[in-house]
């Protein structure tokens, strides 16, 4: 499916979704409360069949935490990139997509561990790499501990 067809399909179903500027993959920016239904629709639509989530990660940016999902279809081969911005840095929360792709459950545990983003309705949201009593979330830009060097 070409970029234009994909855009038309997604915008037809979700008119609020904004287009991103990524050159490599068609990129869509959805509101945090919309991301779960967008993911479900992309997986279940017979034209897109996005059954393989190959990357889910986050980035700490000025305007909030960006959650990025890279999806592809194992049968049809097209890729898409979804983004949602969690502007409330004090209490970032979004619905889990673990029920849609099993892989997401573990990517989300990693994101929770390193960014402190809460995933609602996640079945097993625990730290994955760090100790359970670790203070803070290391991949946040404002993270500091006793080993941080001041420049």
């Amino acid at each position: 499916m070409t970029r234009e067809e994909m855009t038309a399909l997604v915008r037809g179903k979700f008119p609020d979704v904004k287009l991103g500027s990524n050159k490599q993959f068609p990129e869509f920016i959805a509101a945090p409360d919309q991301i779960h239904s967008l993911c479900t629709a992309l997986k279940e639509d017979a034209q897109t069949k996005m059954d393989y989530l190959f990357c889910e990660t986050a980035a700490d940016r000025k305007d909030g935490f960006h959650l990025v999902y890279h999806l592809t279809s194992s049968a049809l081969g097209h890729c898409v990139m979804l983004r949602t911005v969690l502007t409330d840095k004090a209490k970032p929360e979004v619905e889990t997509v673990g029920g849609i792709w099993m892989a997401a459950e573990f990517y989300e545990r990693e994101i929770f561990d390193l960014f402190g983003i809460q995933f609602a309705h996640h079945p097993d949201l625990r730290r994955i790499f760090l100790d359970d009593d670790w203070v803070g979330y290391p991949l946040r830009k404002d993270y500091k501990d006793s080993f941080t060097l001041e420049h």
């Binding site: 990357c55 700490d60 099993m102 290391p138």
Partner: protein, 373 residues
Amino acid sequence: MEETLLDIELKEKEEYIINMGPQHPSTHGVLRLEVCLEGEKVKYLRPHCGYIHRGIEKMSEKLTYPQLLHLTDRMDYLSAHINNEAVALCVENAMEVEVSDRVKYIRTILAELTRIASHQLWWSAFGMDLGALTTFFYGLRDREKILDIFEETTGSRLIQSYITPGGLMGDIHPNFQKRTKEFVKYFRKKLPEYDQLLTGNVIFHERTQGIGIMSKEDAIDYGVTGPPGRASGFHCDIRKIAPYSAYPLVKFNQILFTEGDTFHRYLVRIKEMWESLSIIEQLIDNIPPGETMLSLKAIKAPKGEYYQRVETARGELGVYIVSDGGPLPARIHYRTPNFSNLFVLNKIAQGHKIADLVAISGSLDLVIPDIDR
């Protein structure tokens, strides 16, 4: 005698939890599996990772691209060249530069040699997991020859950091082509020995066939790629889906099976070694002359986000770079193959004996530093 409440309680709780790891020889690194057993059968298991979490992604935010490249070797150290290549390709795509054909050929040959060396080591250790010690001697004997080739050209045997953004650290050694051809010739004779030792062995069949079956749906759902994914029929070879470097120029087959058991995960890797030999043969005589390093003023990714997928010996490696335009990345994320391959273990090992768990986790070929990063 009447059954007391205590008896019933004990009967209901006829399960116990044991820890396999963090220092267990069959986990091939510091991974702890919390295994719940009922008798000898695995009821479920919970992997605990993070024992060697080094925070590579956090460290990389303070390093330039040529610097952070050196950390990628230390993720999946058995696919070091391919990890380097992933970062190099991602940065080159971001800068919109293209390396010469010479570099592409050399990168592909090195990547395939890496794949063979990795599969050899896996084959050696897998035999040992199942109690066959001879495989270790055979595998390491042949792997040594590849490491010698690496040492001559890159100066290093395990973690080379030879492929960098813009090209290669230096040109190949004058002996590189000769020795690689000698190796291919040698290994074509030695590979059938691998089949004689394990592939046709009845005891080996008993231990692996029908054990730990993974369906194609599970493979896709959990994001299992590489040989385990392809043994289940998941068309996931990035060299075919999104070809990079010199892969569009060579002919090779993607090994696909539908059975998805431990034996077919084994078979995929054996057959992949034949394919890798054929790829090397197609390229080794035709390395074109050219520059091995682009003359770049500064290595900076323009503002934006970039993603690069490559096929390591264990599956799909993704490099995701968020750049603000400077020489340092604002965020870099590695989607590592072993991280996704690990968690399917709970699903496919359920109901099998604990000895089979060793065979199943061995067939997934986990490299723990790649999970923890």
